[in-house]
């Protein structure tokens, strides 16, 4: 169906080309021209694979009639002899906002405005202002002379334009860059659908995070499906209606880095859509995954400028990753091309559009084949918008959109003379500029004055005047249509400028002028020596520029080669088994295939094992941090009281240096939680801290947990006077939030159960899939486990009663600083407590927090964990566990379990983690001394038999990082000496998240520092 439609559109378009706007009245007489031109003797680059040397291109009425070596030129055709010049198809940009109304970002209240809970958009549209599938670029498109001119100047002829606003952005339009009316320019009014993770100008609070954007988009797909299948009889929703119309079009997703690219692709997989994804230019950093996504990419060209690194201390603020990206970004297209990833380029991100060709050439210098570059600017984008029959190559029947150039399009000296669009000529440089190059004898008032040398290129000549064989000056010259203006200052020290005006006279120049003293003069310049062009150097194959290695992850401390799982024999260590055996002295442990294969005394090393002497050292399980917010791009989707639909697994950041830092503190697993901004938070992600691995490799998908929260954050006590709108504002309200949501979830689950259980479904109404209620239904079904942020006893008691009455289980209270007051009740319900060792006094609800909390809960039989909620504290959780020994006398072995086995139990992964037992995962740490001692430090930290942190290796890495930094700085300095632009050193700070961090509020504070 779609195909037919586009053929139809194409047909109509052709017709309208012949009779431009036939329906429009004219002011004055008709002036229709047939536009018949023949371009002869040109090197015609039909596409990246075909070039016709010395060919002819025949066009008529804006359409190509014929392209070949021999064309019979009919009468009445204007013949233009291109004498060995080149013809290329005009370029296509797929990420344009050309001719779109400006997207105005209303000043936001920087996290402190009164919440906007509903959409402000008028009309019967959907509930969320960031979802606007009804936006139709063709309806608001209006050619823009300035922007069109800028794009034509660098060779573009056609663009895909759309509104860059919102998460669902509506449909895009294919337009040419003609300066005529929208009716002429518009080739396809519904060419594409557009998406992003940025909510744009929407002032609505939801979504406020990356995972919220994912959830919103997923829910939108499900809702649209439901709407089509019958939902429309229940409500009118023009957004869902529009979404169903555009979702089958070529779909473009704008992202800004490798991880959001992969995130977008994953959404596409869920709904059977292969998005065309605009990346951030860092795809080389995760090449294998990007390749596996099978997405065609739109690549930006805004490669970073060199940093100013002259001051060594200032330069320290720039990370090695930033320096490396500066070096490697231009190689990104080449790397992708080599591994077979298909892509198109966009100039949209270039602040200065005139940088376009230098960026393209830079990509070629780093190994991008020219054919690939041409494809990325012509045939690939044409194919992606299904316009390959119209634009992107030079074939009969296609639009006469082409460039006339002096040279190979990608060569440094190339000049684009003309950009023809729909058969209309736009002159960029004079095609027949006179070649004035050569050496002239220069006379003023017939007296020999010196000589003028003109060199450089025909289009941009360099001028030099030598006066009386000694003084060399560079004059200022303008030359247009054979007329010339030339000024110079003959005496460097004495001010006074000679001003000449002139014209080309035979093989020389002649004219009039004025001396500095005002006396008139006549002058001439006679050619004495014709210009000898210097032999072109680039006949030899240019050497491809090299870069340093990619690091996994792309951080200074990343790995050039990913570490591998080993067979390890740890000999003669003190082994904390966390099992009945307790702490074994002088024991051996064998690790094979990522698992613990033997534990005992006097074992012998299996063949091929690496032996580690554990004498005097302690071998324990890796620490499991039950409450963490590291390695995440966002924490809170705090915009609604419940955000059960969001998944932290959507925003895992494997590049967070805190992963490495936690490994350096003996942590191997972190439970990444949603924040505490709302009563029902999001679905947590349990990850192993495999430094360098992918998001998927880190994630433990079978751990299904969700974050809840109680107390001051949920009721927004400390958010200022503007936050007095969202329900609930009291602990009374919090209770009702849970009752309401779980009651609805029960009904939801019942609805689905009935539907799924019914024999004949045809007569039944399909229930709407609701991602939020689905997550809550999983809790009711005991498939998903709650970790609830909690402080004071009243609310803890409340939630336990809510759970009792609705028959669901609370798995863990986290923070739980007044757990000691409720320990008996927790124990009775088998609820765990994951707490801080000694935090208190920072707000009202922690006034009665005591460091004996863990001990009191422990002695009452509660499963207790000690967590961090903090990237800093996490790297010394062994010390925090030790505090439970001082405060309340927890036995050391039990204290140690609070950061290993107990969190494993609370996370339901103790079948494979948390103790040193044959068959369990080899997630191990060798400590320099007793692990609860302040003096303890990890010798190595291993996950599934792979060493991700090693004390000696860490020292070596520091040296390596320093050397790589210096290499890049030296390279940058030599670039600076070459006059390439530099930027002031900005340093991006590693973020530290806590569960109370609300995007915006927290950030504002940081800014204030």
């Amino acid at each position: 169906m779609m195909k037919k439609l586009s053929t139809l559109v194409f047909g109509l378009t052709l017709t309208s080309l012949c009779h431009a706007q036939e329906t429009f009245p004219r002011n004055g007489t008709y002036d229709e021209r047939t536009g018949r031109y023949a371009f002869t003797n040109a090197n015609i680059v039909v596409d990246s694979k075909t070039t016709i040397p010395n060919g002819t291109l025949l066009i008529e009425n804006g359409v190509i009639r014929e392209v070949s070596k021999q064309v019979k030129i009919p009468a009445g055709v204007v013949v233009i002899d291109l004498k060995g010049k080149y013809i290329y198809p005009s370029l296509i940009d797929l990420d344009s906002d050309y001719g779109m109304p400006e997207v105005k970002n209303e000043a936001r209240g920087r996290g402190r405005q009164t919440p906007q809970l509903e959409s402000n958009k008028k009309g019967a549209f959907g509930w969320n202002q960031a979802v606007q599938p009804e936006n139709d670029a063709s309806q608001v498109f209006s050619p823009d002379a300035k922007k069109g001119g800028d794009l034509r100047k660098i060779g573009f002829g056609t663009v895909l334009t759309y509104s860059h606003d919102g998460i669902v952005r509506g449909s895009g339009a294919v337009v040419t860059l003609t300066d005529e009316s929208a009716n002429k320019a518009l080739l396809n009014g519904k060419a594409s659908a557009h998406f992003s993770f940025s909510k744009g100008t929407s002032g609505q609070n939801y979504p406020s995070s990356g995972m919220g954007a994912v959830a919103l988009l997923r829910q939108n797909y499900y809702d649209a499906d439901w709407y089509a299948k019958g939902g429309k009889t229940k409500e009118t929703n023009l957004s869902l209606e529009a979404f169903n119309q555009i979702k089958t079009l070529p779909s473009f997703f704008e992202t800004n880095d490798k991880y959001s690219l992969l995130r977008a692709d994953k959404i596409g997989d869920e709904f059977g859509t292969q998005y065309i994804i605009k990346g951030g230019g860092d795809e080389y950093q995760r090449l294998e995954e990007v390749k596996a996504s099978k997405a065609t990419l739109i690549l930006p060209l805004d490669f970073p400028a060199a940093y100013d690194v002259t001051d060594p201390w200032d330069a320290d603020a720039i990370s090695v990753a930033q320096l490396k990206h500066w070096e490697m970004a231009p190689a990104n297209p080449s790397v992708l091309a080599k591994s077979g990833v298909s892509f198109a380029f966009t100039a949209a991100d270039l602040k200065n559009k005139s940088d376009f060709w230098s960026k393209i050439r830079s990509a070629i210098e780093y190994g991008l084949p020219k054919e690939k570059a041409l494809e990325a600017l012509t045939t690939t984008p044409a194919r992606l918008i299904k316009a390959e029959g119209q634009v992107g190559s030079l074939k009969a029947g296609m639009l006469a959109n082409f460039l006339i150039t002096s040279d190979d399009l990608f060569s440094k000296d190339n000049v684009i003379y003309e950009n023809w669009i729909q058969g209309k000529k736009f002159i960029l440089a004079p095609i027949d500029a006179p070649d004035l190059r050569g050496t002239y004898s220069f006379s003023i008032n017939k007296a020999a004055t010196g000589k003028i040398e003109i060199s450089g290129s025909v289009e941009k000549p360099d001028y030099k005047i030598t006066i009386k064989d000694t003084v060399k000056v560079t004059p200022k010259v303008t030359l247009a249509n054979d007329l010339l203006t030339l000024t110079y200052q003959p005496e460097k020290k004495t001010p006074g400028t000679v001003r000449l005006t002139g014209w080309i006279a035979g093989k020389g120049l002649a004219g009039e002028g004025v001396m500095p003293d005002g006396s008139p003069l006549t002058w001439n310049a006679i050619l004495t020596e014709p210009y000898k062009s210097v032999a072109k150097k680039d006949t030899a194959v240019a050497k491809i520029k090299e870069t340093g290695p990619v690091l996994y992850p792309f951080v200074g401390f990343g790995n050039e080669q990913l570490p591998k799982s080993e067979t390890v024999f740890v000999k003669n260590a003190t082994v904390w088994t966390n099992e009945k055996d307790g702490i074994l002295q002088n024991a051996d442990v064998i690790i094979q295939n990522g698992k613990i294969s033997k534990v005992g005394k006097g074992l012998s090393a299996p063949s091929g094992a690496r032996t580690v002497d554990g004498t005097g050292k302690h071998l324990t399980n890796g620490i499991i941090d039950e409450h963490s917010h590291i390695a995440l791009f966002a924490i809170n989707e705090g915009s609604q009281t419940s955000s059960a639909e969001v998944r932290m697994s959507d925003v895992i950041n494997p590049d967070d240096v805190n992963i490495y830092r936690q490994l350096a503190g003996g942590v191997t697993t972190s439970h990444l939680l949603h924040g505490s901004a709302n009563a029902i938070g999001g679905q947590s992600a349990l990850v192993k801290l495999k430094w360098g691995a992918t998001q998927t490799e880190m994630l433990i998908p079978e751990a299904k947990t969700i974050k809840f929260a109680l107390g001051e954050n949920v009721k927004q006590s400390n958010w200022g006077d503007v936050a007095r709108v969202r329900f609930p504002q009291t602990r009374m309200g919090v209770e009702q939030v849970y009752y309401d949501h779980f009651t609805r979830a029960k009904e939801y689950a019942k609805g689905w159960k009935e539907y799924n259980g019914a024999g004949k479904k045809t007569a039944l109404e399909v229930p709407r899939r609701d991602l939020e209620l689905e997550a809550l239904a999983e809790i009711l079904d005991n498939q998903r486990f709650i970790t609830c942020h909690s402080y004071v006893q009243s609310e803890i008691n409340m939630l336990m009663h809510v759970a009792d009455s609705l028959n669901f289980h609370i798995n863990t209270f986290t923070h739980i600083l007044e757990g000691y007051k409720m320990a008996d009740k927790m124990k009775a319900r088998n609820i765990g407590g994951s707490t801080f060792a000694d935090w208190w006094a920072y707000k009202m609800e922690v006034k009665e927090a005591i460091p004996y909390n863990a001990a009191l809960m422990y002695h009452e039989g509660v499963t207790v964990a000690i967590n961090s909620d903090d990237a800093e504290m996490a790297r010394r959780l062994n010390q925090e566990a030790a505090k439970t020994v001082v405060f309340g006398g927890v036995p050391e072995e039990e204290a140690w379990k609070m950061v290993t086995l107990n969190p494993a139990k609370l996370l339901h992964v103790d079948n494979r983690m948390g103790s040193i037992k044959v068959g369990k995962d080899a997630d191990l740490v060798l400590w320099s001394t007793h692990p609860l001692s302040i003096y303890a430090r990890p010798e190595f930290t291993m996950i599934e038999g792979t060493v991700y942190f090693d004390r000696k290796e860490d020292v070596a890495k520091q040296t390596k990082v320093a050397a790589e930094r210096e290499r890049l700085i030296q390279k940058m300095l030599s670039d600076k000496a070459d006059g390439k632009p530099t930027q002031k050193a900005p340093m991006t700070m590693p973020r530290m998240w806590h569960c109370e961090d609300i995007i915006g509020i927290h950030a504002e504070h940081e800014e204030g520092k």
Binding site: R112, A317, N718
Partner: protein, 441 residues
């Protein structure tokens, strides 16, 4: 790079709206302060860590009227008419001195009414922590339980914050608790780099602080005026701000400069020297490892912010914050460590010192000096406290083991100026209450 206050607190502070009327009288009271020492005491049988690097195994320490009269082997102490306390197998340490805190001037971070550390305005050399120090703070007794016997309360706001004083963690009122009044003026040197936040992608970036020259100019004019003013014997009209700065020019009080970047440190030290200021202390000092030679040559002590922090840059040695006190010590720079502007967390100060020994080349006895001897010397109270030596005050603690390690830090006795301190606190009372509820022992 001014060390971020702990975010949990600040997130709360930010949106602070409700003003709670907090009446401490509504809660159980702190125990009564120690009574003055009435008869000589000798503690015997303990391992005594003098705080100067020396350790006496099986030693004895005697004190009378609050002053140490003798320290030596167990046999050497006289026991005539003396209260003999057998502390065999225990360890004795000088009380920990916690610099650069808001103890006593901050109670609950999210409740504005309990915050007295930041005055409005930029130039406040005349405001004094002394008079706001609340000896009835419920936080204070908890500090003694990990060995904190002295605490410096420091104003935080503006570019000249005010003057600090040093207090015992025991006393009826500030007048009673203070050891040294107005020991120094605190200034915030403008940071070389400033952070800015991108609301589009929520990233934070650092760039050169373009506004800092303005602040430096303001410092320059203020210090010039203050120095001129200090030269007049009976100034008229009197200016209480400039009056308050007199002591730093006279070499009677410290000038504490908060600065973290190497360039800020060098610049601020040169600035202070230009005005002839003798007692200069750098506080913060995150990048002081880059300029150890400069610090040593100019004899500038450094009070580091909490070493339990993350490195400041992605590529920085992951353990640098832990190693920093050791690096400075080995380079010959006098260094103390602090919890920056924290209050309740200062009870963990011993563990910062312990960590610095675990992760660098300094021995535990050297690490101990970071929170005892060095702090006393920097604040000019070393004639009274900081080490356990004859003639100094008997302000000491008895522990079950290594003070710097959680495994040994169990404080069983505390003496301040010879008086035995009641170690009860609110948290222990709650502990006891719930042990009783559950029948736990």
């Amino acid at each position: 790079m001014k060390t971020k206050k702990y975010n949990k607190l600040n997130t709360c502070l930010l949106g602070l709206a409700a003003v709670f009327c907090l009446n401490t009288a509504g809660f159980a009271q702190n125990p009564a302060p120690a009574k003055p020492q009435t008869r000589p005491i000798i503690l015997t049988g303990a391992t005594i860590h003098l705080g100067n690097g020396q350790v006496i195994e099986n030693g004895a320490i005697s004190f009378d009227k609050g002053i140490i009269t003798q320290v030596g082997p167990a046999a050497s102490g006289s026991t005539n008419n003396v209260e003999v306390i057998d502390v065999k197998g225990k360890h004795i340490f000088p009380g920990i001195i916690s610099m650069n805190t808001t103890v006593g001037i901050q109670e609950i971070a999210s409740v504005r009414a309990t915050l007295d550390y930041s005055e409005v305005g930029e130039i406040n050399p005349h405001v004094r922590a002394l008079v706001a120090y609340n000896t009835d703070s419920e936080v204070i007794p908890t500090l003694r339980n990990t060995g904190i016997l002295l605490s410096q309360a420091v104003p935080q706001g503006g570019i000249i914050s005010g003057s600090s004083s040093v207090f015992y963690t025991d006393g009826w009122n500030w007048e009673d608790a203070v050891l040294k009044k107005d020991d120094g003026i605190w200034i915030n040197w403008p940071s070389y780099l400033s952070t800015s936040f991108n609301y589009e992608d929520f990233s934070v970036s650092l760039k050169k602080n373009e506004k800092r020259q303005e602040t430096i100019d303001l410092f320059r004019s203020t210090f010039s005026d203050a120095k001129g003013y200090a030269g007049i014997s009976k100034p008229s009209p009197m200016n209480i701000r400039l009056e308050a700065m007199k002591d730093i020019f006279a070499g009677k009080a410290n000038l504490y400069i908060r600065a973290d970047y190497a360039k800020d440190i060098i610049e601020s030290v040169k600035f202070a020297q230009e005005f002839g200021i003798k007692k200069i202390v750098i506080v913060g000092g995150d990048q002081s490892n880059k300029i150890t030679a400069f610090l040593k040559e100019n004899n500038i002590p450094v009070v580091l912010n909490q070493s339990h922090r993350l490195p400041n840059a992605t590529d920085e040695d992951v353990y640098l914050p832990y190693e920093l006190p050791g690096i400075l010590t080995k380079a010959g720079v006098k260094v103390a460590i602090s919890y920056s502007d924290e209050w309740w967390r200062t009870r963990n100060l011993a563990f910062l010192a312990g960590t610095s020994s675990g992760f660098s080349d300094i021995k535990p006895e050297e690490a101990l000096q970071l929170i005892t001897k060095n702090a006393a010397e920097i604040m000019g109270i070393d004639q009274y406290v900081g080490t356990l030596e004859k003639g100094k005050q008997a302000s000491l603690i008895v522990t079950g083991g290594d003070l710097l390690d959680m495994r040994g830090n169990s404080v069983s006795m505390v003496f301040i100026k010879g008086g035995k301190v009641n170690l009860d606190d609110k948290q222990k009372r709650l502990y006891d209450k719930y042990k009783e509820k559950y029948g736990q022992k």
